[in-house]
Symmetry: C2
Subunit: 182 residues, 2 copies
DNA sequence: GTCTATAATTGGATAGAC
DNA sequence: GTCTATCCAATTATAGAC
């Protein structure tokens, strides 16, 4: 961790290959052998470097949404801007969200999903809310946002996916806004 | 299907055991051997009767929400009543929803989730909506409802689970109501 | 650090006797 | 209709040579 030689190149190669494969094909459908092959190393190295398949999954599947510019904007339009932001999230975010969701029946992965959900969908909004029911409203906001991802990405509602984003932003954003500024 | 002798008792025993095990432990964690043992028959019978594990899963994991009495009520209070109805759904519904969700990366199971979502969360509401954007509003209602199940059951938001149902019904129901009667 | 070889298990599905 | 026996494929993880 401290000196430059502590992580061999294979470590990064495995990490990169695992990140891509898990996000593309999910946890169960991705074998340690697949990861090793994609990284150009033997499968046993994967375990040696990361301990277990599950640990590697937890290490790689992090949702990294940087919404600083988003959250800094005016509170009155946060609802619409947040939904717009979510709708334009990139493929990697979708892959990680789906992989975490589908593998969440394993205890430690469930914990990981819980904290990812909290960090990405609850806390950012909660920080900008006032009042004694701010916590409840932020959690319902998390449900609302998660529900859109659920119907678009898990269910795969094609009608919704084909709908002009601006319509969804307007209608669904208004609902989110009602939780932010009641 | 037509005469009484076409389905041996083992058929029903397997069906019942599979329904329970899939809902409790999920698709991947339930083996055909587990199902056979729980039904008191050999594992090979499971395949002989249902063709494959996946087919048995699809046959058993049906969400059966009877919301006739709910949907018949006044439209102005449908939002709150629907959320209340969802929050008090029984364990079986939760198990089936979770199992379908987590196994939905298999193509045919994904199709099953799609139709279950449509039948349980979109169509019932859509039938009571008017206007040219009724379809969009019904689909967003489905997202909203699905999102509540997602955060309660998949994420396992314990704060939300410990919150008085009436508070959730009031706040989240109002959002659903805004889609029903804008 | 890296690979070869393999352990140890488990899974779904099938053939064929009864 | 039901069971015994088995096949075949795939998995994660480890031991040990280099």
């Amino acid at each position: 961790m401290s000196d430059a030689t502590s992580k061999p190149p294979s470590h990064a190669a495995i990490f990169g290959a695992a990140t891509q494969l898990f996000a593309e094909k999910g946890y169960a459908a991705t074998s340690v052998r697949d990861i090793g092959a994609a990284a150009g190393v033997d499968a046993s190295l994967v375990i040696r470097h990361f301990g277990s398949k599950e640990q590697l999954f937890i290490d790689t599947m992090k949702i990294d949404l940087d919404h600083n510019p988003l959250m800094a904007g005016p509170l009155e339009s946060l609802g619409e801007r947040y939904i717009d932001f979510i709708l334009t999230a990139d493929d990697q975010v979708r892959g990680v969200f789906l992989a975490l969701l589908r593998a969440s029946d394993s205890g430690s992965i469930g914990t990981e999903l819980r904290s990812a959900h909290e960090d990405a969908f609850v806390s950012p909004i909660k920080q900008r809310l006032d009042g004694d029911d701010a916590d409840l409203r932020a959690r319902l906001a998390g449900s609302l946002v998660g529900g859109l991802l659920y119907s678009l990405w898990v269910v795969g509602d094609e009608t919704l996916a084909a709908t002009d984003h601006r319509q969804i932003v307007r209608r669904y954003g208004a609902l989110l806004q009602a939780l932010i500024t009641p």
